[in-house]
């Protein structure tokens, strides 16, 4: 269990570190969110290499998304994605009803405005993982009531 606390505390420090070292204009522009997302991207790329080194090739896009929801999420957050929805045209919505990085923050509306900062890294994580599996995408997150949150993945056809 110690490693879970380590990742959580490190992630929290990372977010506050990025915001502290940013200048006034950057905070408003959302540059910090981009920085965090890029960090997550690089980590996601590396992680997916490690996790899939022994698995068979994926059949199709949906198979890859299911892998992300089950194995990938379990290894990083010790639980699976609770709900996966798709319109079969390249848009997937991953819903986590008890997102590990938000459970200690609040259950409801308090601190809602800060939630996006703590989701940026994970968005990048998903995007990086998908990128190394050959899928280019855009990942965004939204929270309406903590600790549940939704990650929206838009596949970009090249």
């Amino acid at each position: 269990m110690a490693d879970e606390a380590l990742f959580l505390l490190l992630h929290n420090e990372m977010v506050s570190g990025v915001y502290k070292s940013a200048e006034q204009g950057e905070v408003e522009n959302g540059r910090c969110i981009t920085k965090l997302e890029n960090m997550g991207f690089r980590v996601g790329q590396g992680l997916i290499e490690r996790f899939t080194k022994d698995t068979a090739r994926f059949k199709d896009e949906l198979d890859i998304m299911k892998f992300i929801c089950k194995d990938f999420w379990t290894t990083v957050f010790k639980k699976q994605i609770d709900n996966l929805r798709t319109n079969h045209q390249g848009i997937y919505v991953l819903q986590d009803n008890k997102f590990r990085l938000l459970t200690q923050m609040s259950s409801g509306k308090q601190y809602l405005e800060h939630a996006s900062k703590y989701l940026a890294f994970t968005c990048g994580l998903i995007r990086g993982g998908l990128s190394n599996l050959g899928i280019k995408s855009i990942v965004t997150a939204e929270v309406s009531s903590m600790p549940a949150c939704k990650f929206q993945v838009m596949i970009q056809k090249l």
Binding site: Q104, M105, Y111
Partner: protein
């Protein structure tokens, strides 16, 4: 309301600190747990201190026995989980997290020695 609380807290801190050092000096043998609780004719004050200096204090009725494990649970399952791990709760300041307050409230209400009558 802020003013009343701070004075009370300062007095309480001073009292607890003095009692703690008094207990350690008076103890004839090696002190294991140290100051656990004190009681007056009206109430009993239970005390739990962590190695990091966090102090958990609970005032109860006279009929309540040792509740060290309860105070420990408040520290480990509530304070550490919901305040220490919450990046938006700066340590050392009053806890603003509603989640912490509501969980603490329901935990205390669930205790066997809590009576809804007393409120």
């Amino acid at each position: 309301m802020e003013c009343v609380y701070t004075t009370e807290f300062k007095l309480m801190y001073g009292m607890l600190f003095s009692i703690r050092s008094f207990v350690s000096k008076m103890s004839p043998l090696d002190m294991k747990d140290g100051f656990l609780a004190f009681q007056t004719s009206r109430y009993k004050l239970h005390y739990y201190e962590t190695p990091t200096g966090i102090k958990v204090v609970m005032n109860t009725d006279l009929g309540v026995g040792p509740i060290r494990d309860v105070l420990h649970h408040i520290y480990s399952a509530l304070y550490v989980e919901l305040v220490v791990k919450n990046p938006l709760c700066p340590l050392g300041q009053t806890v603003q997290s509603e989640l912490f307050r509501s969980r603490l409230d329901s935990y205390v209400r669930s205790l066997s020695f809590f009576s809804a009558r007393a409120g």
